[in-house]
Amino acid sequence: MEFKLPLFPEQASSVAGQVDAFYLFLVLLTTFFSLLIALMIVFFIIKYRKRPDHKAEQIHGSTLLEIVWTAIPLGISMIIFVWGAVLYYHLQNPPKDALEIYGVGKQWMWKFQHPGGQREINTLHVPTGRPVKVTLISQDVIHDFFVPAFRIKTDVLPNRYMHTWFTPTREGNYHLFCSQYCGTNHSGMIGEVVVMKPEDYAEWLASGKAEGSMASMGEKLFQEFGCTTCHRPDAGARGPSLLGLYGRPVRLSDNRVVIADDNYIRESILNPNAKIVSGFQPIMPTFQGVVSEEGLIQITEYIKHLSQQDSEPLSNRSNPAVLRDTEVPTIQQELKGRGNEPAAPSGKKP
């Protein structure tokens, strides 16, 4: 039996120290108040113990005291709330230039893909010093991606992408735990995050047997599944062109405007009739059961890639739904008016 008694996991990400500081503040605060109550009780039960000559004093209460001991905890709670909320906001919002890695969880293992196509099972190699955004989905039940050393966690859902991000700061091997009960081998769904110096990470990437970058794998699938049949940039195409699509607003047949993000693309492939692009017919077949979650991720990477290329000025007929830049500000206002902030597009403008 190892006789170590640590209290904190290692701090291996840029936020770990901040979370620990907040935690320590809470520990000190709660210890203080617990001791205060405990000591007061002990003091009272001794000082005011039952004695034959001694009668209790019947005190009704004190409204002032009630106000004070309501207001002080309320005030302290608000401080805790704000501190926690600010930290949370930081933890939830990945920086724009994050290295994007995709993960698929399934009973009872993790599969990761790096943008260059390198794949890993139950291990995740990442470099220090730059933000890493992990986009995750499950193939079956709800899992959870938890790296204690980074102080981050997100549930991994089967019907839409979730993400988390971290900036690793210290080399080493750290536990990755599935932390949403997922069946028989839940406690076996453990992985390892290997944090390396950037040079070592680059070396590791180069040494891997990648079949090709994710985007090129996605392009292959795009052709294999016959997507090119309908999704073409020419005027008579049966489906909307995907050039410049990723991250942009799209107008639907019911006049709603949505942002073409990862979840939109995934839904469009698995359940095409959920959202029909304005000006097109609901004729796309579903690929549910045909394409795997990894395949979906690769196709999404490919589509993202398409938005980074320069594209020709688009004719009205072929993609009335992909809005030109001049129209974008109006849509942004419309969305704001409905309380729906559009996500900032992540592709470059054509």
């Binding site: 039996m1 190892e2 209290l7 904190f8 996991p9 979370v19 935690y23 809470l26 605060l29 709660t30 108040f33 617990s34 109550i37 007061m40 009780i41 039960i45 005011y48 113990r49 039952k50 009668k55 209790a56 004093e57 019947q58 005190i59 009704h60 209460g61 005291l65 009630e66 309501t70 905890p73 309320l74 709670s77 608000m78 805790i80 926690g84 909320a85 949370y88 079956d140 039940v141 709800i142 938890f146 204690p148 050393a149 102080r151 981050i152 966690k153 549930d155 859902l157 089967p158 019907n159 536990h175 735990f177 932390s179 009960y181 997922c182 069946g183 028989t184 839940h186 406690s187 076996g188």
Partner: protein, 532 residues
């Protein structure tokens, strides 16, 4: 002891199984939930035994998953939720109000039968192999991926929920309509206020879990898509519906316990309670706020940032009324005349342990830390501190306090004090290390764990064995006291409250004459002034 009382008024199994006497029904509940407490406790013992070593070497994974599921289900649905209301509330509430019985005695009996049927389904699920979804039944795992008797168990829980609804209904109507003359709302014992608030939650919240479990059963049995994305459903919807009840449920569990503490602290400080109005209204506030914080169980589950902010803020708000109670109880002891009989020991333990449990809730309400400690042993420690250190402690304190009234016998004081001490030590040794384990990152529901977590797990399991002793001792000496205990007399604690104005045990109709109330509750400064 009086010659005739509710226990010997009638003999025979029929007089018990067809009784309409709230006191006998309380005893029926007592026996039933004690059985489920020890059943759930046995599962806990097996869990802690497995967790002595990092490897999953005592049980197969599926068995372990069933152990923690059945531990949670039994403890929550078949022990904690009925505990104080159905045992102590049923017995004492009408007497405290000066009434002959609850408003609907037959519905009271029906509620016990419904509970038996529901719990029977639970046992059937256990005999059918046990369920392994966790007591939280998250989808789509529970509806599409496990092969255990989920529907049987879900049906059992939803049936038992109706027992809860009927009890709540009964309490509310009784409190409104059956108070003795002179018993105004401002003179109600705080035990009544607490049970009243809990009853509001029971009747408003329980139907939601019933519907949720029905939908789980429909999806699982008939593949009607509600929660499983493969059938077009949304798994997070389940979590919203489940927690919409299950969060208020924890207040159903704790509020009656808090009522018990108010009764005990006043009696053993010989003092009226400090801040009666504030304690009474804090119970109502907890019930109301308890309904708007459910998504604090879902901060990482896929809710929006804005939702998370709102629920975090409200979760801090719900903590405040509980803090107010703790301060008021402490202030009640100030300038009191305090003695440390067993009920008081449990009440003091409650105040300390509930404070720690409640304060650790702040770590979870705070978004920045919740990300890290969600679904780890930190949460397990937190809820055991409030549920066991809080609720079970209050329940045991109440059982000790009212045992003489219920049975006419005194339990033996020395073993009782020892058991209270053993329980306190065992409890802290079991659950305090789990806070540390949680922050270190050990997830919940882990059958096997990385070796660096072993020391803390061993400490926790060692504590569990001590805690087990502390819980078994009362079972032994309470049973002993039935035969060999000293006769208690009407008011062994010299307490205020209408229940102490009648015999121990009380007659079937509680009072020989209708009491008339002329004084405030906890009027310890003066002689009892009840005019007959």
């Amino acid at each position: 002891m009086p010659a005739k009382h509710y226990l010997n008024d009638n003999y025979g199994i029929r007089s018990w199984l067809l009784t309409k006497d709230h006191k006998r029904i309380a005893i029926l509940y007592l026996c039933t939930i004690t059985f489920f407490f020890f059943l759930g406790g046995m599962f806990a013992a097996l869990i802690r035994l497995e967790l002595l070593t990092p490897e999953g070497d005592l049980f197969h994974s599926d068995t372990y998953n069933k152990l923690f599921t059945m531990h949670g289900v039994n403890m929550i649905f078949f022990f904690l939720i009925p505990s104080v209301p159905a045992v102590l509330g049923n017995f004492i509430l009408p007497i405290m109000l000066g009434a002959k019985d609850l408003a609907f005695p037959k519905i009271n009996l029906l509620s016990w039968y419904i509970f038996i049927v529901g719990a029977g389904f639970g046992l059937a699920a256990l005999i059918g192999g046990g369920v392994d979804t966790g007591w939280t039944f998250y989808t789509p795992l529970s509806t599409g991926y496990v092969r255990t008797p989920v529907i049987v168990l879900a049906v059992g829980i939803l049936i038992a929920g109706f027992a809860s609804i009927f009890t709540g209904l009964n309490f509310i109507v009784t409190t409104h309509r059956m108070r003795a003359p002179g018993m105004t709302w401002g003179r109600l014992p705080l035990m009544v206020w607490a049970n009243y608030a809990a009853s509001l939650i029971m009747i408003l919240g329980t139907p939601v879990i019933a519907i949720t479990l029905i939908l789980v059963a429909l999806e699982r049995g008939f593949h009607i898509g509600v929660f499983d994305p493969k059938l077009g459903g949304d798994p997070v919807l389940f979590q919203h519906m489940f927690w919409f009840y299950s969060h208020p449920a924890v207040y159903i569990m704790i509020l009656p316990g808090m009522g018990v503490i108010s009764e005990i602290v006043t009696c053993f400080s010989r003092k009226r309670v400090f801040g009666y109005t504030f304690i009474a209204f804090s119970s109502i506030a907890i019930a109301v706020f308890g309904f708007v914080v459910w998504a604090h169980h879902m901060f990482v589950a896929g809710i929006s940032t804005y939702s998370a902010l709102v629920f975090s803020l409200l979760s801090f708000a719900v903590a405040i009324p509980s803090a107010v109670k703790v301060f008021n109880w402490t202030a009640t002891m100030y300038k009191g005349s305090v003695s440390l009989e067993t009920p008081m020991l449990y009440a003091l333990a409650f105040i300390g342990l509930f404070t720690i449990g409640g304060l650790t809730g702040l770590f979870l309400a705070a978004l920045g830390t919740d990300i890290h400690i969600h679904d780890t042993y930190f949460v397990v420690a937190h809820f055991h501190y409030v549920m066991v250190g809080g609720m079970v402690t209050a329940y045991l304190g109440g059982i000790h306090f009212w045992w003489p009234k219920m049975t006419g016998k005194m339990y033996p004081e020395a073993p009782a004090k020892l058991a209270a001490l053993i329980t306190f030590i065992g409890f802290n040794l079991t659950f305090f290390p789990q806070f540390i384990l949680g922050y270190l990152g050990m997830p919940r529901r882990y059958h096997a764990y990385p070796p660096e977590f072993q020391v803390l797990n061993v400490l926790s399991s060692a504590g569990a064995s001590v805690l087990a002793v502390g819980f078994i001792m009362p079972l032994v000496y309470f049973l002993w006291s039935l035969k060999f205990g000293e006769a208690a007399g009407d008011n062994p604690w010299d307490a205020k409250g209408l229940e102490w104005q009648t015999t121990s045990p009380p007659p079937t109709h509680n009072f020989h004459e209708v009491p008339i109330v002329t004084e405030d509750p906890y009027n310890y400064g003066e002689e009892a002034n009840v005019v007959h």
